[in-house]
């Protein structure tokens, strides 16, 4: 731990930063791997309990054939995302962010927006150590808030929702474009060109005849390629 935190300039990249910075980040990553894996594996084991309970304790086993058909159907529908999503989001989430976001879910519509907001609020540069930690704080708190809200709504049931004015509920129909537009704006205000490029690539890929699930990956790859190319031109 540094006794003199102010001495370390916040946005330095790892190779240029002091040994202490690298060291505390190393410790942080090791802890994140340990706790991340422990919680994920615990949850993986837990995932078997409800189906086993239903099948063999309540004796409602539907037969392995039906279960297999269901799982194959599910895998065919979205299985490719099991691999593509973690890889696509890793560069923005980082190590700890990945463990958090893939346990709690709602990555694009909650975790990432909260991560970016926390990073921008303290003015941390994308990809820096400080940004990584700020993102972790943002996602961890979002995960807690989300679970508390969900539990409240489930326990309070429809009552809580019934006191929400209908106008507000109607407005929530537009929550997704509003979140995604706002996050894009968070990047576009510093680099409007890149924001425009991302939106243009998004539109082009959206209307391209590509298998729809991998469109987002194609979009991320193309945007990375274009921006890296433009950054190289600058140097």
């Amino acid at each position: 731990m540094s006794l003199n935190p102010e001495k370390v300039t916040p946005d330095e990249y790892v190779s240029r930063a002091g040994a202490e910075t690298t060291n505390s980040m190393e410790i942080f990553h090791n802890r994140a791997h340990f706790w991340g894996r422990l919680t994920l594996f615990t949850l993986i084991i837990m995932c078997f309990i409800p189906p086993i309970y239903m099948s063999f304790i309540l004796d409602a086993h539907p037969g392995w054939g039906a279960i297999f058909t269901g799982l194959v159907g599910y895998a065919g529908f979205i299985g490719i995302m099991w691999i593509l999503e973690p890889i696509t989001y890793y560069p923005t989430l980082g190590i700890a962010g990945t463990y958090l976001a893939f346990l709690t879910g709602n990555i694009a519509n909650m975790c990432l927006p909260c991560s970016v907001s926390a990073q921008k609020a303290i003015g941390a540069k994308s990809g820096s150590r400080k940004a990584e930690l700020a993102g972790v704080f943002g996602i961890a708190i979002a995960s807690l808030v989300n679970i508390v809200v969900i539990v409240l709504i489930i326990l309070g049931g429809t009552y809580i929702l019934s006191i929400i004015p209908p106008a507000v509920e109607d407005a929530f129909a537009f929550v997704l474009p509003a979140i995604f537009g706002a996050v894009l704006g968070q990047f576009a205000y510093k680099t409007p060109l890149y924001g425009g490029i991302a939106l243009a690539v998004g539109m082009i890929v959206l209307f391209s005849p590509i298998f729809s699930l991998i469109k987002i990956v194609v979009c991320v790859v193309i945007t990375i390629a274009i921006i890296l190319y433009l950054e190289k031109q600058k140097d």
């Binding site: 935190p5 989001y89 940004a131």
Partner: protein, 236 residues
């Protein structure tokens, strides 16, 4: 869902399991908050910045959380509360999960809404949703370490590249997500553009007059402006 199935779907053992799931998610979030807090001074993050990051995460997550909760109510009617809590609280979104439930029910040869949605049909749905959602957990549990090592290798060669890749990946993902939503209707386009431009405006103002707190509220304000503008255009 038949009454009998609904009773089982809302029975005590399933509630207990659901709360264990929720407990794991909360435990993980708290552990990560603590280890991040411990490492913050070492990388030059002041305690003021830690507080700002936490406050911003809190403010920014309220809107999205309610949006998630509103969709979740439709799932409760289909699957009962405990299974909904297990699936939405953990990896997965409302849209994916309703499709997953339908796939599971069809595998048993019934529709989700049909009267002959028996306990065995419900059990098929539970298997499909619980094991299907595990794919992401398995991949992240096994391969996040390799992703981290790859990142470190790239950074050693070229320290600047990760920063560019990181924000470009984000831009690409949200460029697509925003496009995908905005083409749904003119009103969706208005919501997206209004949120985007108000965000740019808020950030510019915050920089100009040095209102740091404004940045903490930026996502919430921009979201509300986007949703409100869209809503008002539907009134005409």
């Amino acid at each position: 869902m038949s009454n009998e199935t609904m009773n089982i779907a809302n029975s005590a053992p399933l509630w207990i399991m659901a709360f264990i799931f929720v407990g794991i998610v909360m435990f993980q979030a708290i552990v990560f908050l603590r280890i991040a807090k411990k490492s913050a001074p070492g990388i030059g993050m002041t305690s003021k910045e830690v507080k700002t990051a936490i406050r911003t995460g809190f403010i920014s997550s309220i809107g999205p959380s309610f949006a998630i909760a509103i969709i979740l109510v439709s799932l409760i009617a289909l699957l009962g509360s405990p299974l909904t809590l297990m699936r939405i609280g953990i990896i997965g979104s409302a849209a994916t999960e309703s499709a997953a439930a339908e796939i599971g029910a069809n595998a048993f040869g019934v529709g989700l809404n049909s009267d002959n949605f028996s306990i065995s049909a419900f059990t098929t749905v539970v298997w499909t949703m619980c094991l299907g959602g595990m794919g992401w957990l398995l991949f992240t549990a096994f391969f996040t370490k390799s992703l981290g090592n790859t990142q470190k290798k790239i950074e050693k060669k070229n320290p600047k590249i990760m920063a560019a890749v990181s924000s470009a990946a984000m831009l690409g993902a949200f460029g697509y997500q925003a496009s995908d939503q905005m083409v749904l209707s003119v009103t969706h386009t208005i919501a997206g553009l209004a949120a985007l431009s108000s965000m740019v405006l808020i950030m510019l103002i915050a920089d100009k007059v040095n209102f740091a707190w404004l940045k903490e509220w930026a996502l919430g304000i921009a979201m509300v402006i986007g949703m409100a503008s869209a809503y008002f255009t539907t009134l005409f």
